[in-house]
């Protein structure tokens, strides 16, 4: 028997180098499927794990950063407050690639305010919401993304409308908004990779069924419902900047969007003929999908022009975190000058 060496990426690391500790979530949890796609995406992108900071709040989804990229610093914040931590981390060291995983409770309920302000500031990071419509760790209460009319296992009916995080993100000026499904690995990896190439907040709302508390008949976030209802707006592809691939497409059938780092996202049109560069169109599509009870996935909105938070801070290349004393402590003469002005 011959053994072949494991495949390596452009920086010579194997897929195993991007793995984390074993998951402690329920068997079949949608979150684990997303974790696998994060590992795959980061491996294929060839990002250095030690240049990544992975962050989360509290909840089942927020446990997952422990399950990928063991060689990256991780931060499990308090419930709903990961965005403020992420903002601080970004200010201290904007050279880090930041990936955050949150849930629908962590983001749309307790953390809605911080989520909004993070998006509004356009802090450069990937923000994945593993959205299952329920609180798992506290055993199955509704979250604020549960659809109107959806049912809990106990038969309790949700009488409140959901908060659509994608619609909200677009409203707040987010320049990269995607919706996907844990059961659609191909689309999901394309979105994660493209999000990593985006300069600004990239929000990915990923429907991730909770096999224990929200996978039954009457749930709109179950595997069965999502599989049956998923309607991709387009067929998504991602071409990294380090690969020169030229694919021939039938004219007019594919829209290409160039991302900040030179990578490209390709959108092969379906019957929807959807243009994700128009915010008004995106909002309309999201609203219509709610009315039609459709589950649309894909890249809902993209704007590569919006300045990110780092550029607004007007800081230099080097991270503030490690600037030497001669850069951060003004001279003795400066203090003297200030004192004299106060005399």
């Amino acid at each position: 028997m011959t053994t072949s060496a494991p495949k390596t990426n452009r920086i010579g690391l194997t897929l195993a180098d991007y793995k984390g500790s074993p998951s402690t979530l329920c068997d079949g949890c949608g979150h684990d499927a997303i974790t696998s796609q994060i590992i795959k995406s980061f491996f294929e992108l060839g990002l250095s794990p030690h240049q990544v900071a992975k962050l989360s709040g509290i909840g089942c989804s927020s446990k997952t950063p422990a399950y990928f990229l063991n060689q990256a610093h991780g931060f499990n914040a308090v419930h709903g407050r990961m965005p403020s931590i992420a903002t601080g981390v970004s200010m201290a060291n904007h050279n880090l690639t930041m990936i955050a995983v949150s849930g629908d409770g962590d983001t749309a309920s307790i953390g809605l305010g911080q989520f909004c302000h993070l998006v509004r500031r356009n802090v450069p990071m990937i923000y994945i919401v593993e959205n299952n419509g329920v609180y798992g760790l506290t055993k199955g209460q509704f979250s604020a993304t549960a659809d109107l009319g959806s049912k809990l296992k106990t038969g309790v009916l949700n009488e409140l409308p959901p908060i659509d995080l994608c619609g909200l993100a677009i409203e707040l000026g987010c320049g990269f908004v995607g919706r996907s499904f844990a059961g659609d690995p191909k689309q999901l990896t394309a979105l994660i990779k493209a999000a990593a190439s985006h300069k600004g907040t990239a929000v990915l709302d990923v429907i991730s069924p909770c096999v224990t508390f929200n996978n039954h008949e009457g749930s709109t976030k179950s595997y069965k419902y999502a599989k049956e209802m998923e309607t991709p707006l387009h067929e998504l592809g991602y071409i990294p900047f380090f690969e020169q691939i030229n694919v021939e497409y039938e004219p007019g059938s594919v829209q290409e969007v160039e991302l900040h780092d030179g990578s490209k996202i390709t959108l092969k049109k379906t019957e929807h003929d959807y243009d994700p560069t128009c915010a008004i169109n995106a909002m309309k599509t999201i609203k219509q999908a709610h009315i039609d009870k459709q589950f649309l996935t894909g890249l809902l909105y993209i704007d590569e022009q919006k300045p990110d938070f780092t550029s607004l801070l007007r800081v230099g290349e080097a991270p503030l975190a490690t600037l030497p004393e001669e850069k951060t402590r003004p001279s003795k003469e400066v203090l003297k000058e200030i004192m004299e002005a106060l005399m």
């Binding site: 914040a77 601080g88 060291n93 911080q114 003004p330």
Partner: protein, 608 residues
């Protein structure tokens, strides 16, 4: 017993009272009197006479009454003086109450139309036609209102004999670079001064005479001083949410950063500031930045501290450095946002659920606002924990005279941070292991290029290797090490300042802005035959000096500005065997502490 009239005659008739009085200017909030009051205070200061200025203002932008008090004191006492000697009653809303509150023999300068002389005949009135004079100062109605303030400066300057060149200097400084404003204001001062010279007959004792006691001194508020401390500590990330009375700390810091922390070679900022959406986010950002290696800080007041509670516990438990300023105001709840207090002490000391204890620094002067801010960043990184600096509105927002600040003598120390080379040398890294036996572990920063560098920060139970745990022994191990670290901090926090009087049986303990009132009170007590020693606490946790001080004195008065005697309780909690020696002096009406309050309280108790 003397009658009021006899008393006032005595005061008016006893010749000159030189460089020892207080002036209170009563105006309407938003009327622009702040610059005039600064000019008045500065010109006296520039004559070499010690001064202090306190603004007693409402939580309002315009329309409500506000009072500015200048204390002039040849002996250098700069605490609040409760008694007003000279009232400038410019606010018709409060004029009657203001003049009624005066002690016999005081002076009252007021607009003639208020007819305040009809209310108090035992006060010396100087009535001035301010509207008429303002009409001469400008044709512009809006300007007239502002210039009226400078007219009273002129009248008061003439009455007190404040040197005109010093007024000119103060106005030039106040309106730096604005030639037109300087002219207009100087002219208004002259109008007031000349009118007073021609029309008023000096019939009171108060006057100023040049001294040499302010040479080389500065005037600054505590928030600006703290901002300077942050600037020279090399702060790199600042997050804040506006709240009175702390806003001006970050606002002044931003000004300094923009002026002095733009890299000359690249034109790039060596700092980042963010105005957060609330205080929960403000401390979150400051912790995130501290975790990633920045020198980070946030600044707030009571309501913000309450909101920061959860993250404060997180920072303590996961060991992340950051500095949190609490410029205290009156609570609970919204309380009185523009009044001073020291009532956040206990809640901040143990801020957050679970067993939590924080390092707290307690500056007692503007120079300590500067020095202890510098120290706070050092301690936060040394001990990898949030450090709280508690000042208050009186210290933070009022003008204090001080010696100039000293440039830091120690280089910046970032604490136990392992870089790639250090990791390579060590060959292993366990984030929460007590390697050195002082309870302080080593940390790494995200972005460190070494396979051993990464660890997972979590607010849940964690092992020495930073992995998740619910094992009883792991939790106990962690909590005990945190306690050990806290006890190590006792040797490194700023020591109390001791002023020992030989054979004193009475000890006084105070902290923060109570300091200058206590110093003055000790002199008053001495004059009354009570010899006292004084220990000023500058930090929590307590250091050994405190226990010795309490042990060495028969009765120890703990002076503080809160209702519950919080510092007294904390001392009693830590040294219950000495608790019976402690007496509590509590001042909590929202006004700055004055010496007589302390003096009277001690005398009352000592004469029992």
């Amino acid at each position: 017993m003397k009658t009021l009239v006899a008393d006032s005659k005595e005061k008016l008739g006893k010749g000159k009272i030189v460089n020892d009085f207080s002036i209170q200017v009563a105006t309407v909030n938003g009327s622009g009197s702040q610059s005039s009051n600064n000019v008045l205070m500065r010109s006296i200061f520039q004559m070499g006479i010690p001064v202090s200025g306190k603004n007693l203002f409402p939580s309002n932008i315009a329309g409500l009454p506000t009072w500015f008090t200048i204390r002039v004191n040849k002996d250098g006492y700069i605490a609040r003086k409760a008694e007003i000697d000279i009232l400038v009653a410019m606010n018709p809303q409060t004029a009657i109450d203001d003049v009624k509150a005066l002690t016999p023999g005081s002076v009252c300068v007021s607009p003639v139309e208020l007819k305040l002389d009809a209310i108090r005949s035992d006060v010396k009135h100087y009535q001035v036609p301010f509207s008429e004079l303002a009409a001469k100062a400008s044709d512009n109605l809006k300007l007239r209102k502002l210039l009226t303030n400078m007219i009273y400066v002129g009248v008061v300057a003439e009455l007190l004999n404040i040197s005109h060149p010093e007024i000119e200097n103060a106005i030039t400084k106040q309106f730096e670079g604005k030639a037109k404003a300087i002219d207009l204001n100087l002219n208004a001062v002259k109008l007031g001064r000349e009118w007073a010279k021609e029309n008023l007959k000096k019939e009171d004792a108060y006057t100023v005479e040049p001294m040499d006691k302010t040479q080389g001194k500065i005037i600054i508020d505590g928030n600006a001083a703290a901002a300077l401390g942050c600037l020279f500590a090399g702060v790199t990330v600042v997050s804040w949410y506006p709240i009175t009375p702390s806003s001006s700390l970050c606002e002044q810091l931003i000004d300094y950063l923009k002026e002095y922390r733009i890299d000359k070679e690249t034109g790039k900022a060596t700092f980042a500031v963010v105005q957060a959406e609330d205080e929960l986010a403000a401390i979150g950002m400051s912790l995130g930045a501290g975790w990633a290696g920045a020198r980070s800080m946030t600044s707030t007041s009571g309501p913000g501290i309450s909101l920061m509670s959860e993250f404060a516990g997180y920072g303590y438990f996961t060991e992340i450095p950051t500095v949190v300023f609490d410029v205290q105001r009156v609570g609970p709840s919204t309380g009185m946002p523009t009044r001073t207090s020291q009532a956040d002490l206990t809640s901040t000391y143990m801020l957050s659920h679970g067993d939590t204890k924080h390092i707290i620094l307690l500056p007692g002067s503007v120079s300590e606002c500067y020095e202890l801010s510098l120290e706070a960043f050092e301690l936060a990184e040394k001990f990898q924990t949030p450090v709280f600096v508690l000042t208050d509105l009186d210290l933070g927002m009022n003008n204090w005279m001080s010696d100039p600040f000293e440039y830091p003598t120690k280089p910046i120390n970032r604490g136990k941070v392992l870089d790639a080379a250090a990791l390579e040398k060590a060959g292993k890294f366990e984030r929460y292991k007590d390697v050195d036996g002082d309870g302080i572990p080593y940390r790494t920063l995200p972005g460190t290029d070494h396979p051993l560098a990464a660890y997972f920060t979590r607010g849940s139970g964690h092992t020495e290797k930073a992995t998740y745990t619910e094992k009883p022994e792991d939790y106990v191990n962690l909590m005990n090490r945190l306690e050990k670290k806290f006890n190590t901090a006792r040797q490194f926090v700023p020591k109390p300042i001791l002023s020992q009087s030989k054979d004193a049986k009475v000890g006084i303990i105070a902290f923060g802005s109570s300091h200058f009132a206590v110093e003055e009170s000790r002199d008053e007590l001495k004059a009354a035959g009570i010899n006292s020693s004084y220990l000023r606490i500058r930090a929590l946790p307590f250091t050994d000096e405190l226990k010795k001080f309490v042990t060495d004195h028969e009765r120890v008065y703990v002076v503080e500005q809160n209702r519950d005697g919080q510092m007294r309780d904390l001392i009693a909690l830590e040294m219950p065997e000495l608790a019976t020696k402690l007496r509590s002096i509590r001042h909590y009406d929202g006004l700055p502490l004055d010496a007589s309050f302390v003096t009277e309280a001690v005398i009352r108790e000592e004469k029992k």
